[in-house]
Structures are given as structure tokens and as C-alpha cells.
Symmetry: C2
Subunit: 135 residues, 2 copies
């Protein structure tokens, strides 16, 4: 797998863990570095791992937490760090996200997430993802 | 100067160039990497250098563009990349920002900026900066 594919995979895994409210996978996706950081929409920055993971526990425990669909990820590499910008489509609107991953022990671990509302809904270049079919 | 001080200096230079609407300095602060990126508040992500610099030209040319005051920067190093989270205080409210810098040829160059509104005004740990005194 190319490094770009590996980062896109880690980014998709993040949104899958988010949608599934899977705190164990979410915890595994993040670097164990003490000072990872996160800016949830409208929140103040969280700047240490413990607080970031507590925030996910809180969000996953909230029945009103939004379902999130990833759109149009864009990856750029800067040494061992990959910068992903993408959209998050929610029922309430569209967010722009910055997701940072660091190459650690042969995998890409999240070190930062920042999501915030986009004022105008973008016209996406790629078609809408198909809903999963029940077998 | 320590690396942390050097990154904080680059971060302050960014806000000074912003406040002074100094497009030449703003251009010099950014990496010349083709794919630097920027998410202005409410905007869609800009993912190449040309578009990012055009956005600053537009913002600086707008007489209604906000004055921005930097508060409480927090730096974490991940290899050659420094992740800064901080607040931006505007007349209209407070933003949370993610600023990324990359170590290039002995200086720290901006590779990404993402700013978005904070719902509740934070209680800052550090006192209000003094207005500069005229000599």
C-alpha cells in the first residue's frame, strides 16, 4: 500500500470509528504522544491526550451526537507528518476538517483533529457515496 | 533561541503580518511547498499555495477584515513539524486556530492554518496584552 493510501485508510478508519461510536478503535487510532490535540466544532482546543479521549467518550455517549460522512480527503506529506483536509457531511450541515497523522512504527497515527462549519455547502467533485446494501 | 521560541516567534509574525495587512511578510512566512493549505472561518479548505496567497490578498484588501489578537499559543513538535493551537481574539468573538509550521533551511515556515469560532469566550490564563506604548 502506498503511503498516501495508508493515510487515507487511517483517515477513513477515524470516520468509521466516529460513526460506529467505537471508543476502543478511536483510542487505537490516536498516537500515544501525551500532547495530541483536538478542536471540536465550537469547542476550545484540547491539548493533551487524556482530555481528547475524554471528549470522544462524552461525544459517543451523547445520543444526539451527529453521524458523519467523509468527503473529498486531500493528503499532503511533510516529512513524517501527513496533513489531511476533508469535508464532514452531517444532517445539520457541512464541516471542513484538518486531520494530522504521524508515521509511527509502520502505521499512521492521529495527532490532531480540527473540524468547523463551512458557511456554504460545497459542490462535491466526487459522486455521493452509495448507502451500504443489506445482504 | 530554542526551537519552541523560534516557532512561537513565527506564529507571532503570522499574526503581526495579519494585523498589519502585510502581504509581502505573509508570503515570506509561508512555505514555498506547492500544497500548503488554509481553512479560513466558514470557508472551504484551500489546498494549494497560489489559492492560499490569493485569499490573503483578498482579506487584506477588504476594509472590513478583522483585527486579530493572538492569545495562549501552545506548541507541540512532531519531527520537523510544529503544531500550534491558539486563540484569535476579534471584536466579533474568539476563534480557535491550528497553525502548522515546518522546519525548512533553519527557519519555521507555515504549511497550514485553520481558524474557526469558539462558542463560549474562554477564560484566559494569561493577562491581557498591554497596548504598545508610543515612545
Amino acid at each position: 500500500m502506498s503511503q498516501e493510501a495508508a493515510v487515507l485508510f487511517a483517515n477513513e478508519a477515524f470516520y468509521l470509528a466516529f460513526s460506529m461510536r467505537d471508543i476502543k478503535t478511536m483510542d487505537e487510532l490516536w498516537s500515544t504522544h501525551k500532547y495530541v490535540s483536538c478542536v471540536h466544532p465550537g469547542w476550545q482546543p484540547l491539548t493533551d491526550r487524556e482530555t481528547v479521549m475524554e471528549s470522544w467518550v462524552g461525544i459517543f455517549g451523547n445520543p444526539g451526537a451527529p453521524r458523519v460522512e467523509l468527503r473529498e480527503p486531500h493528503v499532503v506529506f511533510h516529512g513524517d507528518v501527513a496533513v489531511v483536509t476533508c469535508y464532514e457531511v452531517l444532517d445539520e450541515g457541512v464541516l471542513a476538517a484538518t486531520n494530522l497523522f504521524r508515521h509511527e512504527a509502520d502505521s499512521w497515527k492521529m495527532i490532531h483533529h480540527h473540524a468547523s462549519p463551512v458557511a456554504e455547502k460545497p459542490i462535491f467533485e466526487t459522486p455521493e457515496p452509495r448507502a451500504p446494501r443489506l445482504q
